[in-house]
Symmetry: C2
Subunit: 313 residues, 2 copies
């Protein structure tokens, strides 16, 4: 198989032996693999893959067709799937635990599906399992134009919440409203909004200090991204008086069973809407595997709306 391989801090395309699935695993013939910030961190040497995953092939998610199955996973053979993986997604074939697979609905584009799993499982886990977002609640999503952000706006709207999408420019406000944002504001305007119930913080310190202050009674701040800095001052008296919850997570470092549970929960809530065409995976651009390095460059450009995917030959 061909794979994007990290070699001395650079990305090269190399031939690797085709992996064989073990018990409970499937091998996916990959069609597309979404790019995530963690891939760039890994390329820079800051975010090694967890144990048990390819250490030098980036890629935290993928979509494709199951072409081989290990014992106990036979039911997946031939099916179109997408998945979160601990690494190794940016290759023409990848092993995935069957428990981490999501079925790709008929009619959904496999290229876009390559960028579904990480964003939608992360956003669903953060909003539903961590924040306990409920109908009618006001939800702030910072970094709303990115992959997790566009997923979170849609999930918030699907749950009957009031998503307020926060971006750095107005360029994508119309698109965010089309995805279900009830309000669209600039990061500069965050300080002026009425109190909110949940903040999904995808940017970090740059907006977190302000978004934390906008939480009302029983407000929840869930931190998923800190690209904009990670240190903020927190007023513990406000935490007490408003009974706030501040939490955060990464998906990649979780155990096999924790990931399986997050995937199962997302599949339960999102499978139906996705199959009815109610969930969109906006793809800003795609690059063939041979030009994966260009995909990483595109990912770093500001002003992007939605995902960058690497497409397999």
């Amino acid at each position: 198989m061909l794979a994007a391989v990290i070699t001395e801090g650079r990305l090269e395309i190399a031939e690797r032996p085709e992996p064989a699935p073990g018990p409970g695993e499937v091998r996916v013939r990959v069609a597309a693999a979404g790019l995530n910030a963690a891939d760039l961190l890994q390329l820079a040497g800051h975010y090694p893959a967890p144990a048990g995953w390819p250490p030098d092939i980036p890629g935290l998610e993928l979509a494709g067709t199951v072409d081989a199955t290990g014992p106990g996973a036979e039911g997946w053979r031939g099916r179109r799937v997408c998945a979160i993986v601990g690494g190794g997604g940016q290759a023409t074939a990848a092993l995935v635990p069957a428990a981490h697979l999501l079925a790709v609905p008929e009619g959904a584009d496999l290229r876009a599906a390559g960028a579904f799993a990480e964003a939608f499982v992360t956003a669903h886990d953060a909003l539903v399992s961590q924040a306990g977002l409920r109908r009618g609640e006001r939800l702030v999503v910072t970094g709303a134009a990115g992959g997790v952000g566009t997923a979170a706006v849609q999930i918030g709207a699907m749950l009957g919440a009031h998503p307020i999408a926060v971006t750095r420019s107005r360029a994508h406000h119309d698109a965010l409203r089309a995805l279900g944002a009830a309000e669209t504001i600039l990061a500069d305007e965050l300080a002026d909004i009425a109190p909110v119930d949940v903040v999904l913080e995808l940017v970090g310190a740059a907006t977190a200090a302000t978004s934390l202050g906008r939480l009302g009674l029983h407000g929840r701040l869930v931190v998923i991204g800190v690209g904009g800095g990670s240190r903020i001052e927190v007023d513990l008296l406000a935490v007490m008086q408003k009974r706030l919850h501040v939490t955060g997570s990464t998906l990649r470092s979780r155990s096999h069973d924790e990931k399986a549970e997050a995937v199962r929960a997302a599949a339960t809530d999102l499978g139906g809407p996705w199959s009815r065409g109610e969930l969109q995976v906006p793809v800003a651009d795609g690059f063939p595997l041979a030009e994966a390095a260009r995909a990483y460059e595109a990912f770093c450009q500001p002003g992007r709306f939605g995902h960058i995917v690497v497409e397999m030959p």
Copy 2:
């Protein structure tokens, strides 16, 4: 009845009309009322009583005997009780919703029981309902020599956790070990301990910044007191990577039903151990109602172990 009354920022003893219990309420002939930091804040004009409670009579907890009952609360007549109240505890009689009462076990001293409810309901709510403390987990309690601290150490030990009591001096370490502390350390030593699962922060910024850093994977910081300052720097990347939870609360500001639920949960878990003499309410000193002002002075002295109570004639 006689009551401690806040008059222009000072405490006076005044005669007030005896209150009559309404539906679901009882009147308690108060034996003793524990002092809390919130009483001092209220005296200083910073922490008004919530609506529906005496605005100028301090006292967040009490113990005594029910001498009158409203409709629906008849079953409590004549019983020895303690309770959290939104205010008004420091008087010879006080109205309490029956849903906020705890039965005082036979053999338990009513004077000490006057300082049971606020500390034990607060500590139980924080450790069990908020932090989800489990058997075998390492628990840090800062400000461990105070009322909530001594309750938390005992509840932690009762749950099979490993309570680490943190104080400003070593004077009370033997007493804390006798209450169930597995380790006793000074605040200066907090930075050197192995990772912990739960921190009950009763001091505030002075120790919170350090205690937050000692949390391991899935660690929970619950902030209940901020007398030592309220602003700390939080590293959101650590929150994400360790999947930390930072939360906090006050008991006083909660709704009637929320308080009833917290009282019920504490009574369920603590009623048995208290009746068997397994829970101690350390009383540092008691003052007659006529000298309530002296009780407030004593509360402010450093080096105290346990509670200050106001005793009724």
